[in-house]
């Protein structure tokens, strides 16, 4: 009898526990959804005849061809920057490799300690085949009046062929924050023409 009553109370409490746990799980899942929605908000910008999407809250910065879009995550330590370039495909045997070398030549002089870390010809981004180039460099604010530390930056280029052009989607961010910033690539790539 004692056992029975105790069991009944415990069973009730256990059911309540499960309900509470289920509710917490649902709440946190919903919370994750809120986070994904908040971080996944994008805005569109007209650039080079395209509607390119970039994360909301980032600052769209004036850019000159071949850069179609340049958006910077101005708040926070990540210093993420996403750029989209469009270039004609070089008429050589391996055009993407040529573009890669061209990118290095353009950057290496002005980006401190720039170096290519890894190249993957058969990568994919947002479901599209792309050549991925990982690189690193150091960003230092040249203004001597600001007390800022140089930041080690990590970046990835995704070279995506579309017709006789190549789109170069580049994301750079402070090394420690790169993985978080990576979500910005998807919407941009999806807004590129096939």
């Amino acid at each position: 009898m004692i056992a029975e009553i105790r069991a009944r109370a415990q069973q009730h409490d256990r059911l309540v526990d499960w309900l509470v746990v289920a509710m917490i799980v649902i709440a946190l899942l919903a919370g994750w959804g809120v986070k994904a929605a908040a971080e996944g908000r994008t805005v569109a910008a007209e650039a080079g005849g395209l509607q390119l999407r970039y994360p909301a809250g980032w600052l769209k910065v004036n850019a000159e061809p071949p850069v179609l879009l340049r958006a910077e995550e101005w708040l926070g330590p990540a210093r993420s920057v996403i750029t989209v370039q469009r270039r004609p495909l070089p008429a050589v045997e391996n055009p993407l490799a040529a573009v890669q070398q061209a990118l290095t030549l353009e950057r290496a002089r002005t980006w401190t300690a720039y170096r290519t870390l890894e190249t993957d010809e058969n990568a994919a981004i947002a479901g599209r085949p792309a050549q991925r180039i990982a690189f690193g460099y150091v960003e230092a604010n040249p203004n001597p009046f600001l007390q800022t530390m140089p930041v080690v930056m990590y970046g990835e280029d995704y070279l995506i062929r579309a017709g006789d052009a190549v789109y170069i989607v580049t994301l750079t961010a402070a090394e420690d924050y790169y993985d978080r910033a990576k979500g910005a690539l998807g919407p941009v790539v999806r807004s590129l023409p096939r």
Binding site: I2, D17, G31, V34, K35, A37
Partner: protein
């Protein structure tokens, strides 16, 4: 007819069996359950009042004297300030000993457990997994409120719930409804203390006036909502409440917690102009005091009414 068992002491009831809310009590336990625990309430309300007074004092002294502190000293002062709310509450609670005081060891244990859960689970989940404070303010009010409720509110309140539910809840020492409020408050204060110490340490020391206000407001709010969770826990143990009772109570506390976070931010943020600005901490303190007063007042009223009704039924 089998013998009834007291739902508190879990012993076969000798003599008169008292039925209440669908459960059986022995006479001794019933007397305890329905005892007037005015002192407990005073502990909470006086604690809140003393805390507010302390904050006013520190803020005024800091504002007038502008003590120059740096480095380790500033950090030490900040940590001491962060511990003050818990110390005040525990001291008052200990000092006023009513008929059957809760075992002090258990209260302290739940307080420590609340703190441990906050450090081991609460902060990692909200700050490292969800990184909630990084994005919620920038994404606009709706996201801000939703994130505060769904992520912060539910996590905090669930951990307070867990700190009580899986420890003292099943023990014979949890023998009154009001015990739920006491243990819930203790767990929440433990949680708040970790948040406050973490805030101080992370910032490497705080501005004394603004910092002590933030510490007090965090403690007041969490203690209130922890007490609310405890209230629902207490009634869940001693009454045949429907299955949704506890989840609903927890959800209510979580929503209030989340709303509080948002509203506190709203009312303490001021306009910015050529004279600077951006922040006024005092409305936050008032809000915290009001929330604590109202919450504990309402809980006190509800439990007193319940007790009177039970006494009348007996």
């Amino acid at each position: 007819m089998s013998q009834a068992i007291c739902c508190v002491c879990e012993k076969p009831i000798e003599g008169q069996t008292i039925q209440m809310g669908g459960r059986s009590y022995c006479a001794a336990c019933h007397a305890r359950v329905t005892a007037d625990r005015r002192g407990t309430w005073w502990a909470s309300l006086v604690g809140a009042g003393v805390l507010v007074l302390f904050v006013l004092l520190v803020a005024l002294v800091a504002g007038a004297a502008k003590p120059y502190l740096e480095g380790a000293a500033l950090l030490a002062v900040g940590i001491i300030l962060a511990l003050v709310p818990a110390v005040i509450w525990l001291a008052i609670f200990y000092a006023q000993d009513v008929r059957e005081p809760e075992p002090k060891r258990l209260v302290l244990g739940v307080f420590v457990l609340g703190a441990l859960l906050a450090q081991a689970v609460g902060r990692p989940v909200t700050e490292d997994l969800f990184r909630v404070s990084q994005w919620m303010a920038a994404a606009g009010p709706l996201y801000h409120i939703l994130a505060a409720i769904l992520i912060i509110g539910f996590t905090e309140m669930f951990l307070v719930y867990a700190a009580v539910r899986y420890t003292v809840y099943g023990s014979p020492e949890f023998d009154e409804r009001v015990d739920g409020v006491i243990y819930g408050t203790a767990a929440a204060l433990g949680y708040a203390t970790v948040l406050n110490v973490g805030f101080v340490v992370q910032a490497g020391g705080v501005d004394l006036a603004a910092g002590v206000i933030r510490i007090a407001v965090t403690a007041l709010a969490l203690a209130s909502f922890g007490g609310l969770v405890g209230y629902f826990l207490g009634r869940c143990k001693f009454e045949d409440e429907p299955l949704w009772w506890m989840p609903a109570g927890l959800a209510l506390a979580a929503v209030l917690d989340g709303l509080f976070i948002y509203v506190r931010g709203e009312i303490t943020t001021t306009a910015v102009g050529l004279a600077g600005g951006g922040y006024n901490p005092w409305p936050g303190l008032i809000l915290g005091a009001v929330v604590a007063g109202v919450t504990f007042g309402v809980l006190f009223y509800l439990l007193s009414r319940l007790r009177r009704r039970i006494a009348a039924a007996a």
